[in-house]
């Protein structure tokens, strides 16, 4: 398997705080990879660095073999590398269907494409995906009127609508009703298996990430602390110490 995303030696500081220090990791095509670490360990900063939200201080980020550390957020998104946000971000004053329609893939599309009418084919696709996440009945409601958990599901469906090659999810289960988490794990797996989307997931819920990910990276204090399959990470004394605060 080839590396879809390759991060090597990436560092990022905010003033005197080194949020990411010389981090290297890779995500192979077609897999589900986890990223864990205590609060403030630099997980979200790393996500933001990868998608071009802020410039990195050093290192290189390659997506499909191409250097992307100099590209802008929309450019990287159009390459098929997408992220979702920890605090959900949806278009609150638009209906769910409209949220879906504007999220469809921008890859290889000219600007003039914006002056086309909405296609019924895309509406069908939007409906299918809304059904996939269980929001079909709310399709014509304003997205802002959904509950937090539903907004999270909508954001996930929007990401699927844009047919990314790789999806980086920032705490997909945070704030979701515990009874729904199993359903969400199942949907993430299906997105990976059926739609062929590589997943890179930040997660605090250990049960979820140990179930979902095939390989896990653990950050602490901005540095890569450990990596390995879930079982090895679970039994790694350094990881346990980091979470208990003795690191």
């Amino acid at each position: 398997m080839s590396a879809l995303l390759e991060v090597s030696g990436v560092s990022k500081s905010f003033g005197g705080v080194r949020a990411n220090d010389n981090i290297s990791l890779k995500v192979d095509d077609g897999r589900i990879i986890g990223l864990i670490g205590p609060n403030g360990s630099g997980k979200t900063t790393l996500f933001s660095s990868i998608v071009g939200f802020h410039p990195i201080d050093g290192g290189s980020i390659r997506f499909e073999g191409k250097e992307i550390s100099q590209n802008t957020v929309p450019e990287i998104a159009r390459m098929g590398l997408l992220r979702t946000f920890q605090q959900t971000r949806i278009y609150s004053k638009m209906t769910c269907v409209e949220n879906m329609l504007i999220s469809r893939s921008m890859r290889g599309r000219a600007f003039t494409d914006f002056f086309r009418q909405r296609s019924s084919q895309k509406v069908d696709r939007a409906d299918d995906l809304l059904e996939f996440v269980g929001l079909f009945s709310k399709r014509n409601l304003m997205a802002g009127s959904l509950s937090f958990g539903q907004q999270k599901l909508l954001e996930f469906a929007m990401a699927l609508m844009s047919e990314p090659k790789m999806l980086m999810l920032d705490e997909p289960t945070a704030g979701i009703n515990p009874t729904l988490i199993n359903g969400l794990i199942d949907r993430l797996r299906r997105a990976n298996a059926e739609f062929g989307i590589t997943l890179f997931v930040i997660e605090h819920n250990m049960r979820v990430i140990m179930n979902l990910a095939e390989h896990i990276y653990c950050l602490a204090h901005g540095e890569l602390l450990a990596e390995g399959p879930p079982e090895a990470i679970q039994n790694d004394q350094r990881v346990v110490d980091a979470y208990l605060g003795t690191h």
Binding site: V51, F53, T72, V73, P74, E75, A77, R78, L82, R83, F85, R89, I90, Y91, S92, K93, M94, T95, E98, L101, I102, S103, S105, M106, F111, D113, F114, F115, R116, Q117, R118, E131, G134, L135, F136, S137, K138, R139, N140, L141, M142, S147, G149, Q150, L153, M158, S162, N177, T179, L180, G183
Partner: protein
């Protein structure tokens, strides 16, 4: 609305617009101004309402269109410098019918295009700013443009410019009335079309969460500049017509009138309902009626009354007429809960 009633409503509105000069001949100029206000409010709302970029600088495009049109009209046949130096009057600067109509057509289009270029240049510079910063910056644009025009001798500087005198054979009142009406109708349908495309969804997305729109790959800067250019084009056309209708172009009180037209267009859109298609149209109509009533019955106090109206709207009615209706009766606007398709699982939230 069913198809039949829809056609009937459209037909009635169109007939009313066409017949107004015969029904209300005394108010012809006020109604013509109303059509221009509709253009102002619709184009403001595209950027301020649909895209969420509150601009106090859109009046710049009106002024650019006004001057661009007048300069073209005159420049086609005479020297602009000589015309403005002579205050545009006298017997030497006469426009016959083909010159007047041809010059007006060319001038209005030129004014519109000049406004588009202005929007492209200014937009590329200021549309990187967001929220309050953008609003304040555009406020400055209007003031700066007025000062520039007031200092430029070639276009008459502070004493302004007089639009070419129409030939006597032309019934100017009806002529400009229909020009304004046609422009309002064209602007309405162009806006309606634009909002029905993916472009409409994209600028709504920018309004709701620009960072998310970028993260999803939308070319936000190009979209924003394009929206402003669209807005600028119709404002430029409107400015060209407005200047000729008004005859005298003053740099600060008419062309770049930030404190009147510049603010009014914002107010009309808010009054009718920001981010809706019909809101700005309704807002412009209600506003123009109040404005004319104040000017007629409260002369001397008209600005106080208008100021009071602005305060009342912003404090008690910020969502506007259509915004209020949409909040009260969401089903009328299509925001309904649909049944799940057969065989689908229970809605997620139904479970405890």
């Amino acid at each position: 609305m069913t198809g039949g009633t829809r056609v009937a409503v459209w037909g009635a509105l169109l007939a009313l617009g066409l017949a107004a000069p015969f029904l209300f001949p005394a108010y012809l100029q006020q109604i013509a101004t109303l059509w221009l206000f509709v253009v102002f409010a619709l184009t403001w709302d595209l950027v301020g309402g649909q895209m969420g970029y509150n601009s106090f600088g859109n009046v710049v495009f009106v002024g650019v269109g006004m001057y661009g049109c007048a300069v073209t009209q005159i420049g086609l046949f005479y020297s602009v410098g000589a015309y403005t130096a002579a205050r545009g009057g006298g017997t030497e600067f006469v426009f016959n019918m083909p010159q007047y109509l041809g010059g007006l057509a060319t001038g209005v289009v030129a004014g519109g295009l000049l406004a588009v270029v202005t929007a492209l240049v200014l937009g590329s510079l200021v549309l990187g700013m967001r929220g309050h910063y953008f609003a304040i910056c555009t406020l400055g644009l209007g003031v700066a443009a007025g000062e520039l025009a007031a200092g430029w001798n070639w276009i008459g500087a502070g004493s302004g410019m007089t639009a070419p005198t129409a030939p006597d054979a032309l019934d100017v009142n009806s002529f400009y009335y229909y020009l304004c009406f046609i422009l309002a109708v064209v602007t309405f349908f162009a806006t309606r079309w634009l909002l029905s495309t993916r472009f409409g969804l994209a600028i709504n997305a920018i309004r709701d969460d620009e960072d998310k729109a970028e993260a999803m790959g939308l070319p936000t800067t190009r979209l924003k500049v394009a929206a402003w250019m669209f807005s600028g084009f119709f404002l430029g056309l409107a400015g060209g017509i407005y200047g000729n209708m008004n005859r005298f172009i003053d740099p600060n009180d008419l062309a770049f009138a930030g404190s009147t037209i510049g603010v009014w267009m914002v107010l009309m859109a808010i009054l009718g309902g920001k981010g809706t298609l019909w809101g700005p149209v309704i807002g412009a109509a209600v506003f123009q009626v109040f404005k004319e009533l104040f000017w007629t019955y409260l002369l001397g106090w008209q600005r106080v009354a208008l100021g009071l109206l602005i305060v009342l709207i912003v404090v008690f009615f910020p969502q506007g007429i259509l915004g209020y209706l949409r909040e009260r009766f969401p089903a009328l606007f299509g925001h309904t809960i649909d049944p799940d398709p057969a065989g689908a699982s229970e809605p997620e939230e139904a479970r405890p």
